[in-house]
Subunit: 244 residues, 2 copies
């Protein structure tokens, strides 16, 4: 058996998320369907983590084991020929049998894209969050700096998150504005369920002057209950890169 | 009655083209559906022309007549609130009763987008033509210059085109390359069915050195039958602007 590591991009628009769900079109089930055809047997893949409905993968990573002996380039070609237009294998590498796409993650980078244009852009509706309000970038940067470091993110993830340890380290949050588009990138050792989208919601409110750093710090230190901010929608979010 | 002129953008991906067809989702039928609700009566719209399935509208224009008296800004807001995410009214103007979105067209601009990247881009699959081959831009410019001017385009439009007069004037064809994306813009007094997509097919073949200017000129002068080039697919095409 050989272990194969794949970097994959997908447009999340027409998927009910990454993970297999009965009777739903998911990224995992489509890829496993192609592998099943190639192996004439069930072949499970393990990814670095899930992504939600509408969320995009730019550099998602998964691995699988195979008895087939073909080169990385041949794998890439064979998979891409059979995959639909909204999934594309960017890179294939052979790795040692102890590599694990989920357990070996060192860092992950997510990016979130926002348009503040007054008018909707029909061509970008699935690829960014249309938020036609004035934002103060300095205030957004100030708010985001509160999250950098090691914190208990219990009050900044979905209440449905079932992981026990909710302490995570964010190494960097970078905000870049180009004309009327804003991209916020988050690099951390791991992210909880809905965490990036909740942080984006807080940063956007801060950019409108409705949430202040002291409040954010108080919630992080659990001296205050959840902020009443919205979770930013899935279509603006990209799992950008996974570091091993 | 007031005559209203609207400039509309639409993402052609999920439409069976612009024009009403029984049991199909088309741009016209969706807009007329919204107008019907507002007027509580059938309201027909007249556009500058049709676009095919998957073809996008960046600045399509249509007009309609209405007994309602509200301002242009109110029209824009009312329509956009009810239209789905893949149609957006960019501008609304009140015009005189003798304006006609189709008969008064002076010039039209179409743009066609191509990616020559080796790898597919899942996020652009519906917005450009993935053509991963080497193209000589100078040869493409040379070929496109053959089409500029007034010509009989009978052999450069769909055989199903039912217009009698197939003489059209192309004022300009402009080719721009940015990294691995190419945009070709066409400005003319009118375009026949599939004409832009057929011209793009010829220009791409020329860029690969497989079609030469002399052949193109011979076909334009009807001294030669159709070139065997492919019609470029709809998703790379944008009806960019209509001039009155």
């Amino acid at each position: 058996m050989e272990r194969i590591k794949c970097t994959v991009s997908y447009d999340g628009t027409n998927f009910a998320g990454y993970q297999v769900q009965p009777d739903k079109r998911t990224v995992q089930s489509v890829i496993e369907g192609v592998l099943k055809k190639m192996h004439k047997a069930e072949t499970r893949i393990s990814a670095s983590g899930r992504t939600d409905a509408f969320v995009h993968g730019k550099g998602q990573v998964f691995h699988f084991d195979t008895p087939l002996h073909i080169t990385g380039e041949q794998w890439k070609k064979a998979l891409n020929t059979q995959l639909p237009a909204d999934i594309y294998i960017v890179e294939v590498e052979k790795v040692s049998g102890d590599f694990h796409a989920r357990f070996d993650v060192q860092k992950k980078e997510y990016r979130y894209r926002i348009s503040t244009k007054k008018d909707r852009d029909v061509f970008k509706r699935n690829y960014l969050y249309h938020y036609p309000y004035e934002l103060d970038i300095e205030k957004m940067k100030e708010a985001s700096s509160c999250f950098i470091g090691t914190h208990d993110f219990t009050l900044f993830c979905s209440a449905r998150s079932d992981v026990e340890n909710k302490v995570r380290t964010i190494y960097d949050i970078h905000i870049e504005k180009q004309e009327e588009e804003i991209e916020i990138s988050f690099v951390g050792n791991g992210f909880l369920y809905n965490m990036v989208r909740i942080l984006v919601g807080v940063i956007l409110e801060a950019g409108q002057g409705r949430v202040h750093s002291e409040e954010i710090k108080a919630v992080l230190e659990r001296q205050h209950k959840r902020l009443g901010t919205k979770t930013a929608p899935g279509q603006g979010l990209y799992l950008w890169k996974v570091y091993y």
